[in-house]
Symmetry: none
Subunit: 221 residues, 4 copies
DNA sequence: CATGAATGAGGTTTCATTCAT
DNA sequence: TATGAATGAAACCTCATTCAT
């Protein structure tokens, strides 16, 4: 179990598997940092605390990460990529056309997939959400590398289904924002704000999809 | 302008106007703290920085607020109350029945009102969102004082309009969550995430209301 | 009771009654200071604490005593005088000759008298003992004003009773030190170190006197 | 000389010699702290002053002692043990019976031994005397760990020599208190109150012993 | 590569003292 | 005279970072 976790973490933190392996201590450092950053916030976490929880000497942290902020960036940067990975596939366009006949199907697929991702990565996502606004490096990375790519892809999808007649005729940005609000609203509530609730995910996903499609007004015969 | 700001801030920070006035220096301290907390986060802000920006001696801060955390709480607590004030009016039920014939009207009113509130209080709301997860005092206040009151009120409204036949038959909690996602999603994007955009608020509100009512599917004749 | 205390305190703190009266607030300040200095030590006591306990504003303390150390000196100086007052009476010599036929009588009188004094002034004496070593002003006052006067008087008494044949032939300084050790040892134990014990003072005084006279060896027929 | 001092200090501060060595800096910190605490009192001493005199960074103090009070306790605790060590030997009873035929011999041995100890440790003893009353941790340690052990031992000795007929029949506690007053009175005067005097220790010890045995009354043929 | 003692800048907080009211 | 808000120096302590081992 712990092994699996380590493998997964280490895979998460490298963008492609060609890159150099993390040492055992590095993994422990990252695990400890993620846990404490998520609990207390980056600024309120001391490197000595991380070292202690990781079971390494304080100096060891700085052998692997030049500064404390470096450590943060090493944690947040990969999650940003993974967060939007499904929308950045090179052959995304084809996938879409072949795989999702209806917008509903696409919505369902996205919600399921990103919910699973959210549940696996809740602490790191929490860190990301809290720290992006306070660190220009992260902000610019987010605004310049992540947002445009995703926006572009989603815009095409929306336009595709608008041309289709399946989606309402409205600025794609607005359509995206409203759809995203519902999806993100659920995932954050589910994974970060209220994870201790007992959730029936399939049901909630279905309702969200129906809501996005038809709103809150009862469907008339 | 500055005067107006001071008046408004001082009114915001007292729950009822009978309470004693804040001194001039106190207001400056709060203003400075709000600004820097919003910019860098509570933990990354030093009291000396606040003192400098407020134009007071560092000791003066601690004459008015026993600790730095006290200062944070003095800022965040009142905003939580004001944030949900419209839902906690004693005669809310009547207001609802008499004022909003349709759910749409209610949505529009809420969005306009809370958007205005968000634009006035963006920095404090940003602070609140960032710090609630890290401060048990704030968390418990939020979960115990704020959430239940609002949830109760909204639940009644939803049930009212469900009985009415205007709203879909679905667990009120879920209905609320989805509606709230759209509204909050817009307000946060508008006021905090992307305030520098040029927004056509009336148009966006109208679209959001329509989305909440009918979803993204084109309305059929 | 409180009134009596005030009167007594105010009388203690003036060397002669011709001097100006203390105001009501001054008395409260001194009372509070004595209490807290005795409990926590001079350095560890803050003027704000004193002000609070005295029920006056912080500024008021500094209206009456230029500095915190001034306040300490105003408390300790008079007690030093009073502590040795019995040995500094102008007509002490006569008193001695007429009043105490035997050294024993003198010992008993001194012990009773200074014990009573110690019980009345325990907190101030404690302050004096703790602070004299750390404040040159107090030290010099003690070494120059107090010690020589008392030493001189006691020396004469010892010499008087040595001439008498009642006291052993030994350097008067040494005789004094040993006698004083026993008396002071009892009074400090009784009043400051272990006041909560139940003590039978008359008995202990008698034993101490007998010890000073005859030591610990059983008296032989 | 300095080396010897260091060795001795480091031996004093460990209760048993198996425990880990103090670092060079730690010793310097303790030495500096002892010196300044003795001169100005604990509360009036700043950690920066200690650091400066010790020739280390202020932070270094806090790497070795979590708080300033920790540093005090690390200084005072061992001296309390050493102070009473001679009375807490496991085979003390035998030692007594075999070594000291008469009470006088015991007195002389104790006075010599503890005087030597007092001269070596004057500053630390001064600190101990001043700080015990103000620090509950020290107080309880003293009252619970130190006092009872010594009292018990001394009581037995007194009873032993009372049974012997060498000592007067009086409550052992009182006998002890009076004897101790004389011994402690001398040692404190000699080592702390008036060390700059030129003292003839052997003579004074002899006189004190004679005083304790026979009091101040001339011995009659 | 790993360690952890050492650093010194900077953090929050306290405090004696001043001064306008 | 009495007040208490304001001060700023200095208190204790933490921290990210370095470097000799």
């Amino acid at each position: 179990m712990a092994d699996e976790m380590e493998q997964w973490l280490s895979s998460l933190l490298r963008l492609n598997d060609e890159e150099e392996k993390m040492t055992d201590k590095q993994i422990k450092i990252i695990q400890a940092a993620v846990e404490i950053f998520a609990e207390k916030g980056y600024s309120a976490t001391s490197t000595s605390e991380i070292a202690q929880k990781a079971g390494v000497a304080e100096g060891t942290i700085f052998r692997h990460y030049k500064t404390k902020k470096d450590l943060l960036i090493s944690i947040v940067t990969p999650i940003m990529s993974k967060l939007v990975a499904p929308f950045v596939l090179r052959d995304f366009h084809k996938v879409l056309e072949s795989e999702y006949e209806h917008f509903e199907d696409f919505l369902r697929a996205v919600m399921r997939n990103r919910l699973e991702f959210g549940m696996k990565n809740a602490p790191i996502i929490k860190i990301m959400l809290h720290e992006i606004p306070f660190h220009p490096e992260l902000q610019s990375q987010f605004r310049e590398q992540i947002v445009p790519k995703v926006a572009q892809r989603l815009e095409r999808i929306v336009e595709h289904f608008q041309a289709n007649g399946e989606l309402i005729d409205m600025p794609p940005m607005t359509v995206m924002r409203m759809g995203a609000s519902v999806i993100i609203g659920y995932i954050l509530t589910r994974c970060i704000i209220n994870p201790e609730n007992s959730w029936n995910d399939e049901e909630e996903i279905e309702r969200a999809v129906q809501f996005i499609m038809h709103g809150l007004t009862p469907v008339r015969g």
